[in-house]
Amino acid sequence: MRDRSRSRMSQTQAAAILLAPFLITYTLFLIYPFFRGVWISLHDWNLLAVAFNPDATEFVGFRNYERVMWGRNIEWGLFAAPFWQITGLIGLALSVILRRVDRLSRFNAIALGLASLLLVFLPGFHPGEGGRWYDRRFWPTVGNTLVFVGLAVPGVTISALVLAAAMNRETRAMGALRTLFFLSQVLSVTVVTLIWQIMFSPRQGLIANITETFGGTPINWLTDQQFAMAAIVIATIWWSLGIAMILFLAGLQDISQDIYEAAALDNARGVRAFWYVTLPNLKRTITLVVILQIILHFQVFGQSHLMTQGGPNDTTQVLVRYIYQTGFRDSELGRASAMAVFLFVIMGTFSVIQFIVGREKS
């Protein structure tokens, strides 16, 4: 009896001791800074002033959030941004109709419905007569970030999927190619952006050379408002292809070869086998890759900061870069923290979705 209780005690103690390093590090470097960040976002907090006088902060409640996201005379209208709002209405109708005829699972219907609702609701806000946004750059920056995510995520997913399907063979050449494609992943963002700045260069760049060979005029990718975002997206796809490709390869290995043989007998080979057998069996992997990429690419900073410096004319200004500038160039740490909390909410939402989808079986 005594022995038993002693060993149980020591088990709890052992657990505490073994968990302590993680818990302490986690608390110190993640939980505390997070709450500290929320705390700062509720203050008027100038980085320089606080550096000289630690008491130079003032509690302002949610005024930083208002300063960043709101404006004077903001009104809501159903047709303030007709394209997005009508798209949202169509999505809302689709989610209801498809759910009625049972072509959509309940989870998907709710997800589509919610997304559509946000699409109807959010773009409807606009400054009324004589009004203006307090921060004119914030919402366009959010928009740029969304465009970036909207282009990079499908770009990475589709190209990684195609590459994985093409390289899912056990030959030495394919092994070498897999390594080669994964290699870009291990490069740091500075190297990646340097490579692509040279690639995109209108004078000596590879792309410009190819364009000229075919008689075209080279595009000035990084300084042209139409192409700057595309250039950043292309560099990002090249950079972050590796992980997605590895995940897809793992998913492909899980599909039994027998099924392809059965499909060959059923007259489904090549593209048809890919469409009818491979894709449906990769559904979970695709969902995982998409959500991981969304979370990753919302945090884009380096590509925009190093390749275009947010330009031209703010067309590649993204959220993290704006937070960085507000906090460390303009020293407005309170406002920067408010934006960071906003970004946290977006990424937290997608994390929760990923968690739910990951748990959902079949």
Binding site: E261, A262, L265, D266
Partner: protein, 352 residues
């Protein structure tokens, strides 16, 4: 007319030849079983009929049509896999109709064929389930259903019962036999289980190392094997083999305790031969002294005795009922001389 004909069929992987020029004719409506030990090429040969493996040399005909270079889908064959190979993301109904949908058959025809196959295999209650929600036996039924729906000229079975437990295996075996009777299509069936081979086949093809050892009806192979390999492979427990020497018009077999006189044309005096005797054709004589009982196994209806001769040669004897001899007893055996098989020691071919 939907038989299968192979002419000098060869399969090579690089320098390694796995099928060595096979000639075989399978008649329309025949149930043909390929048997042989692991690695004998039986599955490869079946997959060559299906078109899942290329035929390196020779020609393959199905229903009088040469199919050697055709795609699997163009050969008019359907295959049932050991692992079932059902599409995990599709329901039973979708699994069964996939092939027809891929070939653009009209909906009414597909529905009709599914109803037919469902009736034959009693799958009505499972049509809207996914494979993951089915038991092994049900999955294999669906897999057979998928084959039936396609209405092929030739059914191919690649060890279809190997993943099932013993009880289900017997059940499905009977079901496949019934299916063949109902449909009457040509079927090729690969197995290493000789009970399946003996009970299902009209014709058994015994393969070893990519070559045909013997082709024939199950009982013909049992009664009249061409060589030691077939004699040892067909029948369970396997035939006993002991060595002997031809002497004075008979064979001296130490393990059997003296000279025996098989009813065959014996080779020259002094030649070494192999004598085969099936366990079920011998009886224990408790008064003998030539053999020692090592182990006895009582299965209820029948029993096996594992015996060793003084020279270390082993024999198995099967008896009805129980064996009275105990471990370590010295015994002898009795048998009818016409039950003895004689094989050449070097070539292992049968001496008749």
């Amino acid at each position: 007319m939907s038989g299968v004909r192979m002419e000098e069929v060869v399969k090579r992987y690089g320098d390694v030849q796995v099928i060595h020029g096979i000639d075989l004719e399978i008649a329309d409506g025949e149930f043909c079983v390929f048997v042989g030990p692991s690695g004998c090429g039986k599955s490869t040969l079946l997959r060559m009929v299906a078109g899942l493996e290329d035929t390196t040399e020779g020609a393959m005909h199905i229903g009088g049509r040469e199919v050697t270079r055709l795609d699997p889908a163009e050969r008019g064959v359907a295959m049932v896999f050991q692992t079932y190979a059902l599409y995990p993301h599709m329901t039973v109904r979708e699994n069964m109709t996939f092939g027809l949908r891929m070939n653009g058959h009209p909906k009414s025809e597909i529905a009709e064929k599914v109803a037919e196959a469902t009736r034959i295999l009693k799958l009505e209650d499972y049509l809207d389930r996914k494979p993951a929600a089915l038991s092994g036996g049900q999955r294999q039924r669906v897999s057979i259903g998928r084959a039936i729906v396609r209405g092929p000229e030739v059914f191919l079975f690649d060890e279809p019962l190997s993943n099932l437990d013993a009880e289900l295996r017997v059940e499905m075996r009977v079901e496949i036999a019934r299916l063949h009777k109902d449909i009457g299509a040509t079927m090729i069936y690969v197995t290493h289980d000789q009970v399946e081979a003996m009970t299902l086949a009209d014709k058994i093809v015994v393969l070893r190392a990519g070559r045909i050892e013997q082709v024939g009806a199950p009982l013909d192979l049992y009664r009249d094997p061409d060589n030691r390999f077939v004699a040892g492979f067909i029948g369970s427990p396997a035939m006993n083999f002991v060595t002997g020497v031809v002497q004075d018009g008979a064979v001296d077999v130490p393990a059997l305790g003296g000279t025996v006189s098989p009813q065959v044309e014996l080779p020259a005096e002094g030649t070494e031969v192999i004598i085969g005797l099936r366990p079920e054709h011998a009886k224990i004589d408790p008064n003998g002294t030539t053999l020692t009982v090592e182990i006895t196994e009582a299965l209820g209806g029948i029993s096996y005795a594992y015996l060793t001769s003084s020279a270390g040669e082993k024999l198995i004897i099967e008896e009805r009922g129980e064996i009275s001899s105990a471990l370590g007893d010295t015994v002898s055996r009795t048998f009818e001389p016409h039950h003895l098989y004689v094989f050449d020691k070097d070539s292992e071919t049968r001496i008749r």
